[in-house]
Amino acid sequence: MDASERQYSLTKDAFNRLVANKLAIIGLVVIVLLILVAVFGPLLTPYDFLSQDLTERNAPPSAKHWFGTDDLGRDILSRVIYGARTAVIVAFSVTILSFLIGIILGSIAGYMGGKVDSFITWLIDITMSVPSLLIVIVINVSLKPTLVNWMDAQFMATHNEFWRNTIIVDFGIVFGSLALIKWPKAARLIRGQILSIRNKNYVIAAKAIGVPTPKILTSYVIPNAIGPIIVLFSATLGEAMVLESSFSFLGVGVRPPMPSWGNMISDGLRVWQVYPHILAAPAIVLGIVTIAFSFLGDGLNDALNPRQWK
């Protein structure tokens, strides 16, 4: 067979288009590196992210401390690496959680139609048009102290070490509240995909000749619906990461001493005129990661949504 006439599968075709896009590949490499750093974080950090060296406070970058140290003499590189852990954990949990909600509500709306559909669509519209950042802030500010106090009381009563893990509460509320504002996009997408694919001729034809439903789903519906879902998944990962650092920047997200790039930037802003390196490291790293997501998202969009081709 002539090379130019060789047939490619859907995935191979999309993959080829993605690889041809240099910016997308750069983005992908940065994100894979970020995930690796997050997973193997404790093995990579030169110092403990909490250990303070008060003789070396606010030290500029050097061979000993690549990114310098902060106002408590903590190694900034180690803190940035642990910040990557926070960012990746939050991004994946929020994205998976919001997609779970979105898939459930979106497919209910798409399949049931009628009143259920209009109710869910109304819910989606409302959630998308409220000032989401503020809502999440209110949830965090009002629930977190109460829950933490409650856990303290439990610890005093039972002396069970479990109640000391207030980080779980911190992360739990951040995940939950973020997923609460992130699900509508997923739900709307899934609903739209179900509505449009269900009535496509090839699905109707497959049904008519008696193809079993699981086979219809795996061979026709999912391959045709998956493209935009992957694009949205990658975009949501990036957005969740930015939101997490926004909240920590405002002081309502993940709380110190747990490092997050957001609270590191907020700390750095107080002293940047004297010690700019404290601000620079987390700000530049967060900037690079968000740009990487933007590049990858664009590349995925071009590769997986060939109908948008111009």
Binding site: L23, S129, P131, L134, G251, L269, L279, S294
Partner: protein, 319 residues
């Protein structure tokens, strides 16, 4: 049209009511006792004097059941009274009337310029499709789309002060002071990416339309083709993003007003969050929702004027 607007407003009121109820409930059941919150900050040990706390609560009507208090709150809001701040004791109305104009001026100016520059860049990119300048503009849009404002803002300040040696753009002295240029830039950049991409895609789509080809074929200069035949179809998708841009700008103002020392809504929100000043937070949630709702309504009203096909469809016509 009037009937349509009233209908929209009527549908919006229940959702805003539910939103306020949810937040009020969160604060009421989640955040704990407002009296205690006030006196924990005040001098003296009042916060630990149960009898006095109870007396104050009694006199402020805070020991009434939840529905009564919420109803009271709503009836005050309807009369335009947002209550008093828990921290300073000042009236929230006063705090808002000081803060809203600052954010409003900066936000509107930023949206205006970002739309103008964004459309221009998008059109230029599309007219030079796949040439170097197109790639540069698209790359620029991708670049600025990702960066959060609390990263770009500080980095621009550090760059200005350390490299150029400029003064720190801090504080507010009116819209026409050069200090607002950097905050405007930072607020505008992020949503501008959206406008560039929308405008570029729209121009590319319109360029393949028959009437544009005809205009070109009959020898119209390309500037006239762009302005007379393309501008309107390009403005529609850009305009439809207004709601998203407004939400974006409001959210971003919370994040950057602190950085630039602007005494606007964002700054007020930030300090209210830090102090758990719930009357202020509730008022801001309401204002933000009203602004977002109004901008969505504006889009819906203006849309048929820009694109008569939409009006036709809404009245039940077939496409």
């Amino acid at each position: 049209m009037g009937k349509y607007i009233v209908g929209r407003l009527l549908r919006w009121i229940p959702s805003i009511f539910i939103l306020l109820l949810l937040i009020y409930a969160l604060v009421f059941f989640g955040a704990g006792d407002p009296i205690k919150l006030i006196f924990l900050r005040a001098p003296g040990d009042v916060a630990y004097d149960e009898a006095r706390i109870e007396a104050i609560r009694e006199s402020a009507g805070l020991n009434r059941p939840f529905p009564v208090q919420f109803g009271d709150y709503i009836s005050h809001i309807i009369r335009g009274d947002f209550g008093n701040s828990l921290v300073s004791g000042r009236s929230v109305n006063e705090m808002l009337s000081a803060a809203v104009p600052v954010t409003l001026q900066i936000g509107l100016t930023a949206v205006f310029f970002l739309a103008l520059i964004g459309i221009l860049l998008g059109v230029i990119a599309a007219l030079n499709q796949n040439k170097l300048i197109d790639n540069l503009i698209v790359g620029f849009a991708l670049f600025i789309w990702g960066i959060p404002v609390f990263v770009s803002g500080p980095l621009i300040i550090v760059f200005m002060v350390m490299v150029i040696g400029a003064d720190i753009p801090y504080g507010w002295s009116g819209l026409f002071s050069p200090k607002v240029i950097v905050p405007l830039l930072v607020l505008g950049l992020n949503p501008m990416a959206l406008i560039i991409r929308q405008a570029r895609a729209a121009v590319l789509e319109v360029m393949s339309e028959d009437y544009v080809r005809t205009a070109r074929a009959k020898g119209l200069p390309s500037q006239i083709v762009v302005f007379r035949h393309m501008l309107r179809p390009v403005l529609i998708p850009v305009f439809s993003q207004l709601g998203l841009i407004v939400i974006n700008t409001l959210n971003n103002s919370i994040l950057i007003e602190k950085v630039f020392g602007l005494p606007g809504l964002g700054r007020l929100t930030e300090s209210a969050i830090k102090d758990s000043d719930y009357p202020v937070i509730l008022a801001i949630v309401l204002i933000f929702s009203i602004v977002v709702m109004l901008s969505n309504l504006l889009v819906d009203i203006m849309y048929p004027l820009l694109d008569p096909r939409a009006e036709y469809k809404r009245k039940g016509g077939e496409e």
